[in-house]
């Protein structure tokens, strides 16, 4: 089984533009950032949320709080994947009650990660609203989950994987579509 790159979905520059656009959308659709907070899903969701917070601060001076969510304890596929994933810990140091939360992740696929994220958030309190922001929506939903803020929607097949590579986590900046071939 080999992995081959099929095509690039976003270049570094396109990632930057997309995130700036998403940052503006979030603020516009959030009645001025009152009670707003971003929650990044480990790992790349955290990097993206961090960048969105900085972008928002850049054009609006608003300081939106940010939390980190580790969904490992909430996954539904644990009994089939063998060794348990290491826990890295959730770090949300503000109360979740009555907050307007935007969950940030790199790719939306089956929706199971977001389902787990919601379970994790509801264990901490009762947010007023939860919306989802993703860089790529690749379709193939298995649960009724939708993203409000979408960087780019792409058509993919089952064997393909969308790889989001960010400077902070991967040492390069691009989004590619790869395929697994026998």
């Amino acid at each position: 089984m080999r992995v081959v790159e099929k095509r690039q979905l976003l270049s570094a520059e396109e990632i930057g533009r997309t995130l700036r656009r998403l940052a503006h959308e979030i603020i516009e659709e959030s009645s001025g950032a009152k009670d707003l907070a971003l929650i990044g899903i480990r790992r790349r969701g955290v990097t993206l949320a961090d960048r969105l917070v900085k972008a928002i601060r850049g054009f609006s001076n608003a300081d939106v709080p940010m939390g980190i969510l580790d969904i490992a304890l909430y996954r539904d596929d644990l009994s089939t994947i063998g060794t348990q994933p290491s826990l890295q810990g959730t770090e949300i140091d503000f109360p979740v009650d009555n907050r307007d939360l935007v969950v940030v992740d790199d790719v939306l696929y089956t929706g199971r990660t977001i389902r787990a994220a919601m379970n994790g958030l509801f264990d901490l309190g009762r947010p007023r609203r939860v919306r989802l922001c993703v860089l790529i929506d690749r379709g193939h939903r298995e649960l009724p989950v939708e993203a409000t803020f979408i960087g780019r929607a792409v058509q993919t097949s089952d064997t393909e994987i969308v790889e989001v590579r960010l400077q902070e986590t991967d040492g390069e900046e691009r989004v590619v579509l790869v395929d697994r071939v026998p």
Binding site: L73, Y74, S79, G82, Q84, S86, V107, N119
Partner: protein
């Protein structure tokens, strides 16, 4: 991480494995503060909690840990008199096999009993204390408490005070702390601190004089006085207090920020005086919370992992690469 299939003792764990377990306990320390302390991570799993020796605290700690992870527990409690003829561990093992739990937590008065069970069952076995051999989760929660209170586990002067010969808590702590560079002093009445203890780890010294043992200590681990050991003449309480009680005055010989730990249950006024037990240097309450966190982390990893022959899904539906 090196995959652990059982937790039988600290002696065979590596430095990396111990550090990993302590790191994994951190999110569970946080978790104890959540309003809703119930996960679905181990939903559908059953943990057999088999305690063949009386214990309330450790048993409740493990049962709560399992329940908070969403697992069910099956409680097997034999009579505390383990001299009962006829009831053999092998019969309990067979009963367990028939009920198919996903893991077993076992405390037993015979050293080697968890290993006996692990050899015969295909499920993970966690040692909650075997005879005078090991009590690994105690040492792990003690290490976590040391790390939180003092910033690190490495290289402290540790004094262990009491009946070392008959203490599994002492042995597990000796193994763990010496893997992290501790200089350990063992102190107690002469018949309970025999020479052979020095072979357990490097950098161990023994003394029968409490004042000498406490000088310069960074961590003081006070053991409880075991009254249930048979075949042993007991030491009168007044004798023990005179020579070995951890009083406030004796504690002043240690470093000013020395941490005092006790595996519990404490007999106030015997091995430790109340002022010390309740004082600012005492870590006993954190030990309890940390016990829950460590046990949740161990159950999460040992019981949560799939059995070796679990079927894998035909398609990999995960896009997650981390």
């Amino acid at each position: 991480m090196q995959h652990l299939s059982h937790l039988l003792g600290i002696e065979d764990l590596t430095h990396e494995q111990i550090s990993f377990i302590l790191d994994q306990a951190k999110p569970f320390q946080e978790f104890q503060r959540y309003p809703l302390k119930k996960l679905a991570t181990l939903r559908g799993k059953t943990v057999a909690v088999a305690f063949f020796e009386a214990s309330t605290r450790t048993r409740i700690s493990f049962t709560t840990a399992a329940a908070r992870l969403g697992a069910d527990t099956m409680a097997l409690q034999a009579e505390s008199s383990s001299l009962k003829k006829g009831e053999s561990l092998i019969d309990t093992v067979r009963t367990l096999e028939a009920m198919r739990p996903d893991g077993i937590v076992i405390r037993h008065s015979s050293s080697g009993a968890p290993e006996f069970v692990a050899k015969r069952l295909e499920i993970p076995v966690l040692n909650a204390g075997d005879g005078t051999h090991e009590h690994p989760t105690q040492a792990l929660l003690d290490a976590l408490t040391i790390r939180d209170r003092k910033g690190r586990i490495e290289d402290w002067n540790v004094t262990i005070l009491g009946d070392i010969l008959h203490s599994r808590v002492a042995r597990s702590n000796i193994y763990l702390l010496s893997k992290f560079g501790a200089k350990i002093t063992l102190c107690g009445p002469a018949m309970w601190v025999p020479r052979e203890l020095e072979d357990l780890a490097p950098n161990l010294r023994r003394t029968t004089r409490t004042e000498e043992a406490l000088e310069g200590a960074d961590v003081v681990l006070v053991l409880r006085v075991q009254t249930e050991r048979i075949h042993e003449p007991a030491l009168a309480a007044e004798e023990y207090i005179l020579g070995y009680q951890l009083t406030a005055k004796r504690l002043r010989l240690a470093r000013p920020d020395a941490l005092v730990l006790h595996p519990g249950p404490m007999i106030r006024g015997l091995e430790i005086d109340s002022a010390v037990a309740d004082g600012p240097q005492s870590g006993v309450l954190e030990q309890v919370t940390n016990g829950l966190a460590v046990r949740m982390a161990l159950l999460y990893h040992l019981i949560g992992s799939a059995p070796v022959d679990a079927p894998h899904p035909a398609k990999d539906r995960s896009n997650a690469s981390d």
